[in-house]
């Protein structure tokens, strides 16, 4: 019997109407999910951002709400928390990441959203305007630096460059490095030894610190500078016994063994170079342009500090890669991709990006923002001249997708101290690293499939 108008709904009819409504709702929602944002979509939504405390200040979060109408909830960055959130199907909408090592790792596991359609429609982030460093966030299923974009760097530095303190060079009567021409790694180490001062078993002045952003990407960069590649062509193995990788490894172990700077056998309690450099206790710091943010703020230190090009190995290549390219990516299972993209656009292309560019804590990742880099003082102009020249030598050094940088670093830390303390030869270390790291890479390759 057909129910007449105004009659109470039967249970069966109620259920069928509900099912229809749910289906229509689901279709609408999925349509929304597939839609790529315009400039104002995402307004009024809440976006969860997994970041470190200094990535997004409270003021910046308030500014986001004011500028784009998106409320930001932050979750402190932690890999284990990220895995937990992704496992329970409720990932953050934007996640901090180190493009140089995280992009291939997460992209190969299919958890990152392909952002090419978003870039194609964006009025703020134009592909032509993107600095080549953003290629660190590309991965084509085999090689980093090609294929779809999965994220973007917030700013960057060429992390094989180094700063030096002219005051300490003068005190030790050590000649300055040339302004635009690189020194060799051997010359760098020789200067570091001559700059080091020790008293009563304590180091009062460290000659130089050279640890890169993380040892695995440092070793990959050093190997390329020596003329080779740390990873095999398919990125499934490392070979430290190859002459170029052996040369790079040998140099780094020499650096650690001579104790001219911090390393895992002589850790810096500050865990980074800034405070030691600022205290005039570090002759050279292997930090890129970003350390200028700290140096520019110290009126005594700034005139004494200079930036130098990335060293090279005799007979190798002059390369000056970025070992970090820290930025954000959107998980493929994010529930608020449009709103996340709106925050992404705002963070990388609008007011926060402009503020970062003029702060000196890194090179902007949009070419159009480069004129904002600090260049008021003479020392800033000198730094900028060196930096602009160095950009010519930038290249992406692809990292393996089969192991996290943390896992390779942990293996290095486990095995290498014996060599640094002189209890193991570099050749034996190279063989042991090959064995341990290749086992880890093999497991990762099986997991990725």
């Amino acid at each position: 019997m057909r129910p007449h108008a105004g009659a109470a709904l039967s249970r069966r009819r109620f259920l069928s109407l509900s099912a229809g409504g749910a289906a229509a709702g689901a279709a609408t929602l999925s349509g929304c999910a597939m839609q790529v944002s315009g400039a104002v979509s995402g307004s009024g939504e809440t976006v969860t951002v997994m970041a470190k405390a200094d990535d997004l200040s409270v003021d910046l979060i308030k500014q986001a709400q004011k500028d784009i109408g998106v409320k930001i909830n932050t979750v402190l960055y932690s890999t284990s928390k990220l895995i937990a959130m992704m496992t329970n199907g409720n990932p953050p909408d934007l996640v901090r990441g180190v493009g140089a090592v995280d992009a291939p790792y997460f992209a190969a596991r299919g958890v990152m959203e392909d952002l090419d359609p978003y870039f194609a429609k964006s009025g703020v982030l134009k592909v032509d305007d993107l600095d080549p460093v953003n290629d660190l966030w590309r991965y084509d299923g085999r090689t980093q630096g090609r294929g779809p974009r999965y994220g973007m760097a917030k700013d960057f530095s060429q992390d094989s460059m180094f700063w030096y303190n002219t005051g300490l060079f003068d005190e030790a009567d050590v000649e300055y490095p040339p302004e635009l021409e690189p020194v060799t790694y051997e010359e760098w180490l020789d200067k570091a030894k001559r700059l080091t001062r020790r008293k009563n078993g304590q180091t009062t002045v460290f000659g130089g610190s050279y640890n890169g952003v993380g040892t695995p990407s440092l070793l990959a960069s050093l190997t390329v500078a020596a003329g080779g590649n740390l990873f095999t062509d398919d990125y499934s193995r490392v070979d430290f016994t190859a002459p170029e990788a052996r040369k790079a490894l040998g140099w780094y172990i020499d650096y650690c063994r001579t104790k001219v700077g911090p390393s895992i056998i002589q850790p810096d309690p500050n865990t980074w170079d800034g405070p030691t450099f600022q205290a005039n206790r570090l002759g050279m710091s292997n930090s890129g342009y970003w350390l200028g943010g700290l140096i520019n703020a110290d009126k005594k230190l700034a005139p004494l500090s200079r930036l130098a090009p990335a060293p090279y190995f005799e007979g190798g290549r002059r390369v000056s890669p970025c070992q970090a390219g820290t930025g954000f990516w959107i998980p493929s299972k994010s529930h608020h991709k449009d709103a996340a993209w709106r925050v992404f656009e705002w963070f990388f292309g609008e007011a926060p990006a402009k503020a970062r560019a003029s702060g000196g804590w890194g090179i902007p990742t949009l070419k159009s923002l480069r004129p904002l880099m600090p260049a008021q003082e003479d020392y800033q102009k000198r730094v900028l001249r060196v930096q602009e020249d160095e950009l010519k030598h930038y290249s992406v050094i692809a990292f393996t997708p089969y192991a996290s940088a943390d896992s390779l670093l942990a293996l290095f830390n486990q095995i290498a101290p014996a060599a640094m303390n002189g209890q193991m030869s570099v050749d034996a270390l190279a063989r042991r690293l090959n064995s341990a790291m290749n086992e880890q890479l093999k497991r990762g390759k099986e997991q990725v499939g």
């Binding site: 890999t79 284990s80 895995i83 992704m86 496992t87 997460f106 596991r109 299919g110 958890v111 009563n200 078993g201 304590q202 180091t203 009062t204 993380g214 895992i264 056998i265 002589q266 850790p267 810096d268 309690p269 865990t271 996290s404 940088a405 943390d406 896992s407 670093l409 942990a410 293996l411 830390n413 486990q414 101290p417 880890q440 497991r443 990762g444 099986e446 997991q447 990725v448 499939g449």
Partner: protein, 330 residues
């Protein structure tokens, strides 16, 4: 109010129901009401225990039979593969050996230190309360804060410890590297001896004064009284401290807090002497992403702790003195 004092259903019904004017529900026995009351009061703990202990343990047990790494799509079941690998992993055995050595060293030292402090502050001293507070204070410092303080104190190039050595013309030592790192770790454990002091102090105040006075009248020395009266009466407290101390030392994460780089990748840079079993577990979970293998390591540790606890109870069954009031049994 005790459970026995909870009013019965009939009593709570009031005089009307007692008079039979309202149909009464079936009478509930006292035993059933006691059971209900017990479960009602215990249920928050039971629910918490099931959700936060049993469920994670069961999940970890399941993970221990897989190659799960938290993120990769192709993880699979490997049966006892992780357990087999564990027995051939040199790091597992070496870290377990170091952990055993650490427990054997640190537990007796901290008990002796805590008991010694308790005996001192149990004496009639001036400002006794102040001393008790000062000695207990380090135990309430959060371990993270203590770890940072220890790292700064023992840093080779800027630490106060080497500053003191330099005053005496002694060259600076690398305290946070081998072979000294293990001593710094033990010092960090002794730093919290105030916890043991407080429990021992409570035990000492429970020792009947008349026994000590009788011993003194009989001519026993202070040491003899302590050895023959105080220690036996404190033995349940000492057993408790031994068992909890062993469990805590096996599970300690203090080396992580003393690590120059307390991150998943940095943990493996710890001096070998401080690379204890839990550090190995931490590295396998968070540096190598081997959730399955690390879960197997934790399950083995759980079984080992159970065995160790059983052995301690067995070994001490003849020497622990329980002061039971014979009247209470009647």
């Amino acid at each position: 109010m005790t459970v026995d004092q909870i009013p019965s259903v009939v009593e709570r019904g009031g005089p009307a129901s007692a008079a039979g004017r309202v149909p009464s529900r079936p009478r509930t026995s006292i035993a059933t009401r006691r059971h209900r009351a017990f479960y009602m009061f215990a249920s928050p703990w039971i629910i918490g225990f099931v959700l936060l202990t049993i469920a994670p343990m069961a999940y970890a047990l399941w993970l221990s039979f897989t190659t799960f790494d938290g993120i990769s799509p192709n993880w699979h079941y490997v049966g006892f593969g992780n357990y087999r690998e564990l027995f051939s992993d040199a790091q597992t055995w070496q870290s377990l050996g170091r952990t055993g050595l650490f427990a054997i060293t640190s537990v007796p030292l901290s008990i002796v230190a805590g008991l010694g402090l308790a005996v001192l502050v149990n004496r009639p001293l001036k400002a006794r309360g102040l001393f008790r507070t000062l000695l207990y204070l380090p135990a309430v410092v959060p371990p993270v804060g203590a770890g940072i303080a220890f790292k700064q104190l023992f840093d080779q190039n800027s630490g106060a410890a080497n500053g003191v050595l330099n005053i005496f013309g002694i060259d600076a030592l690398g305290w946070l590297a081998d072979p000294y790192a293990r001593y710094v770790l033990i010092m960090s454990v002794l730093w919290t001896a105030g916890n043991i002091m407080i429990i021992s102090l409570a035990g000492l105040q429970d020792v009947p004064r008349e026994l000590l006075e009788a011993a003194r009248i009989d001519g026993a020395s202070a040491w003899r009284s302590f050895r023959s009266i105080t220690v036996p009466l404190l033995s349940p407290v000492l057993l408790f401290q031994t068992v909890t101390g062993v469990i805590a030392s096996v599970q300690t994460i203090m080396p992580l807090l003393l690590a120059p780089d307390p991150t998943p990748a940095g943990i493996t840079a710890l001096p070998q002497s401080n690379y204890l079993y839990m550090m190995h577990v931490f590295a396998e979970y968070f540096a190598f992403g081997r959730y399955g293998y690390a879960s197997a390591l934790l399950w083995v540790l759980f079984v080992l702790i159970l065995v160790a606890t059983g052995l301690i109870f067995k070994a001490t069954s003849g020497v622990v003195f329980y002061n039971v009031d014979p009247e209470a049994k009647k």
